[in-house]
Symmetry: C2
Subunit: 294 residues, 2 copies
């Protein structure tokens, strides 16, 4: 059973805190048309000075110039800058998928940016994480993925059964269906049964910049006969574990990719496995849903 009073380092809340380590004084606003859509480090902003027709860089803010252009046109111009920044090593790489810089939701997007550039500009990013599970007599077993050893981030770590970023040009439904197929061999008919059950938010400062992230959470009750299989090579294998074992892993270890812990804690809470008698309950409830820093 999960211990509710803790050995050192043994806790659910430490994952929430680890996902919300950031210092706002390390950043200045990144704005489009006077609207803040991101946060950049002054050190990164200094590289943008090379394009004075595209970015106005001041000590207290960076503004995208290019007034009157369509989103597609301004995005194409910025994409050329990102290409040069990646060439010169200021940005680690380019991913290929496009994310939308937005002051709010995805339908308020103002600029397309390569996914790998998102943390440098500190724009809101969105993802979808799905817990797949079996249920017998009220007892739950969770299907988990094990990340391939060649992944850039968190190689070899445990993962939610399906988890992926949400590019700009695809609907929530289609992206979930795509990720279900690629990461776990789940048919589109089965993916349609996934239930949207909420979202978690966090603000994480990394070496690259700021990640103000929203992860849409889904539950999918799977048939006993279902065996996941990975199509795209991102997953090394799968494990089926009783929910109590998964709770122990989250509580005691760092085996999961960091943000997956938060998606699982939300699952434990919603399904009644982690209840109000737990000493971290209050801080988990508010800590899983902070306002985004951008």
């Amino acid at each position: 059973m999960v211990q509710s009073q803790g050995r050192r380092g043994v806790s659910f809340l430490r994952h929430v805190k680890a996902c919300n380590q950031y210092n706002s004084s390390n950043f200045i606003p990144f704005r489009i048309d006077a609207v803040r859509v991101g946060m950049v480090r002054p050190e990164f902003a200094a590289h943008l000075v090379s394009w004075p027709d595209i970015f106005q860089v001041r000590s207290d803010a960076v503004d995208l110039l290019l007034p009157g252009l369509s989103i597609a046109d301004r995005s194409a111009i910025v994409a050329d800058v990102l290409f040069e920044l990646a060439e010169s090593g200021v940005i680690s790489h380019l991913h290929g998928e496009q994310y939308l810089a937005t002051p709010g939701t995805r339908d308020q997007g103002m600029l397309l940016l390569d996914r790998a550039a998102a943390p440098y500009f500190g724009i809101r990013a969105f993802g979808q994480h799905m817990n797949g599970y079996l249920e017998h007599d009220g007892e739950i077993e969770l299907w988990l993925g094990r990340r391939s050893d060649d992944r850039i981030y968190y190689p070899g770590c445990l993962d939610n059964l399906v988890a992926g970023g949400l590019p700009a040009d695809i609907s929530l439904r289609d992206n979930l269906s795509k990720e279900c197929r690629e990461e776990a061999g789940i048919s589109s008919e089965m993916a349609e049964q996934a239930l949207p059950v909420g979202a978690i938010t966090y603000n994480l400062e990394t070496g690259k910049g700021l990640k103000p992230d929203t992860l849409y959470c889904y539950d999918l009750k799977l048939p006993d006969s279902f065996i996941p299989r990975c199509v795209d090579g991102e997953v090394a294998g799968f494990e089926l574990l009783p929910v109590q074992d998964v709770m122990n892993i989250v509580f005691e270890s760092d085996e999961f990719k960091l943000n997956c812990n938060l998606v699982l804690v939300d699952f434990f809470i919603r399904h009644g496995y982690l209840g109000p008698d737990h000493h971290e309950y209050h801080e988990l409830i508010t800590g899983l849903h902070p306002d985004l820093a951008v």
Copy 2:
């Protein structure tokens, strides 16, 4: 069906905003042993000046004196003050149930205060709200209570099937069982099946002071044969409605007691009826779980 873009006043989010209207500059800290456990209006603090051995009232804070006393002893002394404040009409009435002033959770309580005095001192208050429902082929019907016309607050309004405050001297389990029996005629065996599914928080300024509230949320799947009946006279009657009808009531009207709307919105989200395509989704997710002001 619920409309996602709105006529004026038609929204889920307006209930969240209505529950979180407060101005922190209207309050000063109420402290015990230098720990903030509440927030008081300076106008209320002025009444406490009459007991200089019990309260130290300054322009920027009120401190409870009485060092070295047990919680029971200091609470008895404060209870005498509350009696006089109620006699003189400064406090509206006394309720009889005791709430715990705490800087965090219920097990960190530092002072017992009559429930009716809680908002004047702006202490954290805790409640339990339970949605009782039927489910057929994935379609949900909710059992709702209709409050009696003689209730002090929200007479005649719709209510969650079971909802009550959480006094200091009772466990979560026993209090839920008691409220289930009194308000809906639910047996203790059936109440044991209620699933803790999370909590909502809000900070509400009222004429009396500040309510930094935490409501523990429960789901109870009921058998078709169940018919609720009220034992304690607080409920005038019950209604069984499809979840879509309940969503329309919450979206379009103020028929529900204010904080019940938040418990229902959380239910709609967790059960997939209110999904990430709704334009208010992001603000609802963070808005249902703000940090407490105290």
